[in-house]
Amino acid sequence: MTTRNSAVWRWPIMLALLTVFGLLSALLGEGGVWWPLSWLALASPLVAIGACLAAGIDRTARH
């Protein structure tokens, strides 16, 4: 299976954008909803790791 370039970078770019948004929203936003938004956005890489590892374990279990 060969993945095209755009597919290789889709998730990394999405997570990078979310991270940058999270880093800036708590800094530039003045309290309110900006803090929780920042937490959600910055937690997205952690969620991605969890999801990928869970999918891997699932795949192994099914084999």
Binding site: T3, V8, V20, E30, W35, S38, P45, I49, C52, T60
Partner: protein, 372 residues
């Protein structure tokens, strides 16, 4: 590949130390509060009036008549004022020789004093901070770790360059099982590295900028601050005594009602000017609270002389601080910061493992080839 290997290897050991010591430092305020019991502070209503700063300074002088008062720090989170002193200005530049007295900013009561033995919380945080930022050797250590930070940034960038071609045959986030631990750790290294890429870059770059604090401030003092002083030359102090610091702070508040004075350097300070109180003010929004504005108040006439504008490189330094420390979005942000730090530690450790296991493989091949 070569770039990724050598930049990583050169910085991994130091970076592991930086990441491990950085972990408790994310929570340094919480650790200090938890280990240092400040229950001696009086319970007063929130709108209790503040003590006169001049009285606190006078009390500090009375306790240490042989010392100079160098600076004061006004805490905006807790009702306290710290007065810094030293035997001489030279001593003040040596962190180990500075003395301080901590006052309750409302009652004027002394809460603590240096020399009575460092509290365990402060000592622990200090120790971690040295390991993290200067390896106990001051400016040389700061610059060295700055270079290590640059190597880390180069390692991250070269890792991303390798990621593209490597992943062409794999789905995103695939961690291949059942093909040996080397393949599993390689996939994990790639996954953890790529998802935390921009966080690691931001914390890396801002870490490097933070290591340049000392030279950047020295540059500002030698250029901009000196130019302002030169423009004011020809007005030597007419009154020998220092004017009231409390009045100087009031003058600053009058001129900038939306800003809060956080510290003041006394005249003669190596971090100030010869004839002024250099008063640092901060704003009230999350961002402007990081962008400090220094104000010069004549320390003899009490007149507000100049509101200074910091140059771009000090602004960059100020913005770098929160983005490195992760201390600007409440406790949840700190927890996320810590988790991302743990992920980075795993990337570093797995990278080291991958290099070692490849070397072992190659050695084995060579041994077998030798036998054949």
């Amino acid at each position: 590949m070569v770039v990724h290997k050598w930049t990583s290897l050169a910085c991994t050991a130091f970076l592991l130390v930086i990441c491990l010591t950085g972990l408790p430092l994310i929570f340094r305020e919480e650790i200090s509060d938890w280990l240092d019991d400040s229950s001696s502070r009086a319970e007063l209503p929130a709108d209790a009036p503040s003590a006169d700063i001049d009285d606190l300074v006078a009390e500090a002088r009375r306790r240490h008549p042989d010392m100079i008062v160098a600076a004061i720090l006004i805490d905006d989170a807790k009702p306290q004022v710290v007065v810094w002193m030293a035997s001489s200005w030279a001593d003040f530049q040596d962190a180990g020789r500075r003395r301080f007295i901590k006052f309750d900013s409302r009652t004027g009561q002394v809460l603590g004093e240096s020399g009575s033995g460092k509290s365990p919380g402060a000592a622990f945080v200090d120790w971690m901070l040295h390991l993290h930022a200067d390896l106990f050797v001051g400016l040389g250590g700061e610059l060295f770790l700055g270079v290590i930070g640059l190597l880390f940034v180069a390692a991250v960038v070269s890792g991303v360059v390798l990621y593209g071609p490597f992943m062409r045959k794999l789905a995103f986030g695939a961690v291949r099982q059942g093909q040996g631990s080397r393949i599993r750790w390689l996939d994990l290294h790639n996954l953890l590295g790529i998802v935390t890429l921009s966080w690691a870059l931001v914390v890396g770059v801002t870490g490097v900028v933070n290591e340049l604090t000392t030279p950047l401030f020295a540059l500002w003092q030698r250029t901009d601050l000196r130019a302002v002083l030169a423009a004011q030359a020809g007005t030597p102090p007419t009154v020998p005594e220092l004017s009231s610091l409390q009045a100087a702070l009031a003058a600053v508040r009058g001129a900038m009602p939306d800003r809060f004075a956080t510290s003041a350097a006394f005249p003669g300070s190596p971090y100030g000017t010869p004839h002024h109180y250099l008063i640092w003010t901060k704003g009230t929004t999350p961002l402007t609270a990081r962008l400090l504005t220094p104000v010069m108040v004549d320390a003899h006439t009490g007149e507000l002389r100049e509101i200074l504008t910091l140059p771009w490189y000090l602004r960059a330094l100020e913005v770098s601080r929160p983005l490195h420390f992760g201390d600007y979005g409440g406790l949840p942000l700190k927890v996320i910061w810590a988790l991302l730090d743990v992920v980075t530690i795993t990337v570093l450790a797995s990278g080291l493992y991958l290099w070692l296991s490849k070397r072992r493989q190659r050695d084995q091949v060579e041994v077998e080839a030798g036998r054949g």
